[in-house]
């Protein structure tokens, strides 16, 4: 399949090309947004066209009986294992966001008539492991994550790729966080090279008085973009944090919209970006406060450190506000490591190279430490240091 075939196609042509039935609304939405290109604001820095122009083999997504495992295991878009007693099954996605800004959100749904549905109905911690084994493939799947009311769950989202190349992964979550519940999603995605690319398009509904924590740790090389749309109802809260550590020629980052719909909803979004080599980082984040969202509090900040003069950070924090009764702030800084801090460490006998490493790791740690589980925190720290030290062996 060559996805660029969908460029400038009308509804009927898209319907025929994708062989879909009874999904007119989705096709209409996809066609109205158009296949992304460098002219699309959300994909402007991502070189998406190169990914869409390739010829990929398509996979058959045949549901399998689930094995018992400590984690939910998804291999090439098919769920193969889950913890005992956890409700994980394939089902049609009934709550698709019709206001998502990302055309690939709709394409992902059109390509995935059946989604993996995970019901979190206890106060649990669970790992979801995504494994990719197919080269030259388009791997597409959608996951619906439903957090029941009054429940407090944590999901650790991890990725494994087995010696593959030229594969494009289109996946994403539709998360529904019910009233008075909390969902913590901690994603750690290390890509050692550019053997595969990922576009992850998510939607998060945060119901009344519910909390969403979305922390992403994107490390290494490759090309990957997460596109996130969050809707907040009354007294709902989202705490989003994104750490990027990129090296080589990677292009990765976050494009997000946090939409305050309910009164007294609150959001915090912090991005910390460390760019090395020829890497390009992306943080294009909009906070939108609608007429109905009086007394909103919103805070957004992006800090970037460039370790190499060829590294580039596209930071674009934005506020779109339709009311007066709110507190909102946003900002972005991009610079080098703090010279005073470097000197302080050197003045104690620590070499320049080691001092740089300490400061970079410290910058990352301030976000890693927001993951409250010590074991997971150590795991993320180890992943970060492994990637960082692999590029700084001196």
């Amino acid at each position: 399949m060559n996805l660029s075939t969908l460029k400038n196609k009308n509804q009927q042509e898209v319907t025929d090309f994708l062989s879909v039935k009874d999904r007119e609304a989705l096709v209409e939405r996809f066609v109205s947004l158009g296949l992304p290109s460098k002219k699309s604001e959300e994909y402007r820095y991502f070189d998406v066209e190169k990914l869409l122009e390739k010829e990929y083999k398509t996979l058959n997504y045949v549901p399998r009986p689930l094995e018992i495992s400590e984690k939910i295991e998804i291999v090439d878009g098919v769920v193969v294992a889950a913890p005992k007693g956890m409700r994980v099954y394939n089902d049609e996605c009934k709550m698709i966001d019709m206001d998502h800004f990302d055309p690939l959100y709709y394409l992902g749904h059109l390509l995935s008539p059946s989604t993996i549905k995970i019901e979190l109905d206890g106060d649990i911690h669970v790992e979801i492991e995504h494994t990719f084994t197919q080269s030259d493939a388009l791997i597409n799947y959608r996951i619906v994550l439903y957090n029941q009311a009054n429940r407090h769950s944590t999901v650790y989202d991890n990725f494994v790729a087995n010696d593959i190349k030229n594969t494009l992964v289109l996946y994403g979550y539709d998360m529904h966080i019910a009233q008075d519940s909390t969902l913590r999603m901690v994603k750690t995605h290390t890509m050692p090279d550019s053997s595969y690319s990922v576009v992850a398009s998510h939607k998060v509904n945060v119901a009344k008085q519910a909390n969403a924590l979305f922390k992403s740790f994107d490390l290494g090389a490759g090309q990957a973009l997460q596109l996130l749309r969050v809707e907040l109802e009354e007294h709902a809260h989202v705490d989003a944090g994104h750490l990027l550590y990129l090296n080589a020629d990677s292009k990765r980052g976050t494009v997000s919209q946090i939409v305050h719909k309910g009164e007294h909803s609150t959001s915090t979004q912090i991005a910390k970006n460390i760019l090395d080599g020829n890497a390009r980082g992306i943080f294009d984040a909009l906070i939108k406060v609608e007429h109905s969202a009086k007394f909103t509090k919103a805070d957004q900040n992006s800090k970037s450190i460039l370790l190499h003069d060829k590294a580039y950070m596209a930071s674009k924090p934005q506020l779109e506000i339709y009311i007066d009764e709110l507190e909102a702030s946003h900002g972005a800084t991009t610079g080098q490591l703090d010279r005073k801090q470097l000197f302080y460490l050197q003045s104690r006998g620590i070499s320049y190279v080691e001092a740089r490493k300490m400061l970079v790791i410290a910058f990352a740690n301030t976000l890693i430490e927001t993951v409250k589980d010590t074991r997971q925190q150590e795991r993320i720290q180890a992943s970060f240091e492994e990637v960082f030290y692999s590029g700084h062996k001196n």
Binding site: D338, F343, Y344, L345, Q346, S347, G349, I350, L359, A362
Partner: protein, 249 residues
């Protein structure tokens, strides 16, 4: 024989020349106090000695143990035994204080060809110092200087001095922002380091610290030069008359 000799030192920060031919010799085992009005060049001198990036040396020489250090990197100077206690220590969020201290100590031990300390050995070595300085044990598990009060930052500087055991110790306004109890604790730490070999350069605006750390020499710095050197008897005179009436040696 001096441990450090500064000859005709001229230095600038940005476009402004601050040090204009400064001469000073630090004797082993002695406490040298540098006093002088604002803008005289006291802090510039301390920065020049440790190789601060703000400073451009225009002329003159700094020798330490008979070797010129003008071209040495800051970390090399530190490993050789030169230590600056900063007037305003920076905060470094995310760098654990204990990890920083152990990294610095192990860099020094490695430089000396000695065995490095593991975490447990390091914590044992720290215990006595923490108690003497009246530092809470959680201060070393926090981020380096982050959220520390002025007094805590200065105690942390002295803690670093105690564990690194330098040979030339430059204290840049160590007394600023300290209450009496903190001043006493900090002074105790400094006095503990006096061993008849180490040399101290105490930069201060006020004589209060000199009640606790008895100086051997007072040097008056004015307009980028040392204009007078005398014994501790000069302190009460300066307190009473200020720097205007001081005549150049």
């Amino acid at each position: 024989m001096s441990i450090m000799k500064i000859e005709n030192l001229q230095a600038k920060i940005g476009d402004k020349q601050i040090l204009k031919g400064l001469n000073l010799e630090l004797e082993p085992g002695k406490v040298h106090a540098i006093m002088g009005p604002n803008g005289a060049g006291k802090s510039t001198l301390s920065k020049a000695l440790v190789g601060h990036y703000d400073i451009e040396i225009l002329g003159g020489d700094i020798t330490y143990k008979g070797k010129s250090i003008n071209e040495m990197e800051p970390e090399e100077r530190a490993l050789e035994g030169i230590f600056l206690s900063f007037q305003h220590p920076v905060e470094i969020p995310g760098v654990n204080n204990a990890y920083f201290l152990r990294t610095a100590l192990n860099a020094k031990l490695k430089h000396q060809g000695k065995e490095e300390l593991n975490a447990a050995e390091f914590l044992r070595a720290m215990k006595g110092h923490l108690e003497m300085l009246g530092m809470k044990s959680d201060m070393i598990s926090r981020s380096l200087n982050e959220g520390f009060s002025g007094g805590e930052k200065k105690r942390n500087e002295i803690l670093q001095m105690l564990i690194l055991e330098p040979e030339v110790i430059i204290l840049d306004e160590i007394d600023s922002g300290l209450d009496i109890d903190a001043l006493r604790a900090v002074s105790e730490g400094i006095n503990k380091m006096k061993d008849g070999k180490r040399s101290f350069l105490v930069i201060t605006h006020y004589s209060r610290i000199l009640d606790y750390i008895e100086p051997d020499y007072i040097h008056v710095l004015k307009d980028g030069k040392v204009i007078k050197t005398a014994g501790p008897e000069l302190v009460p005179y300066l307190e009473e008359h200020g720097y205007d009436g001081i005549e150049e040696d």
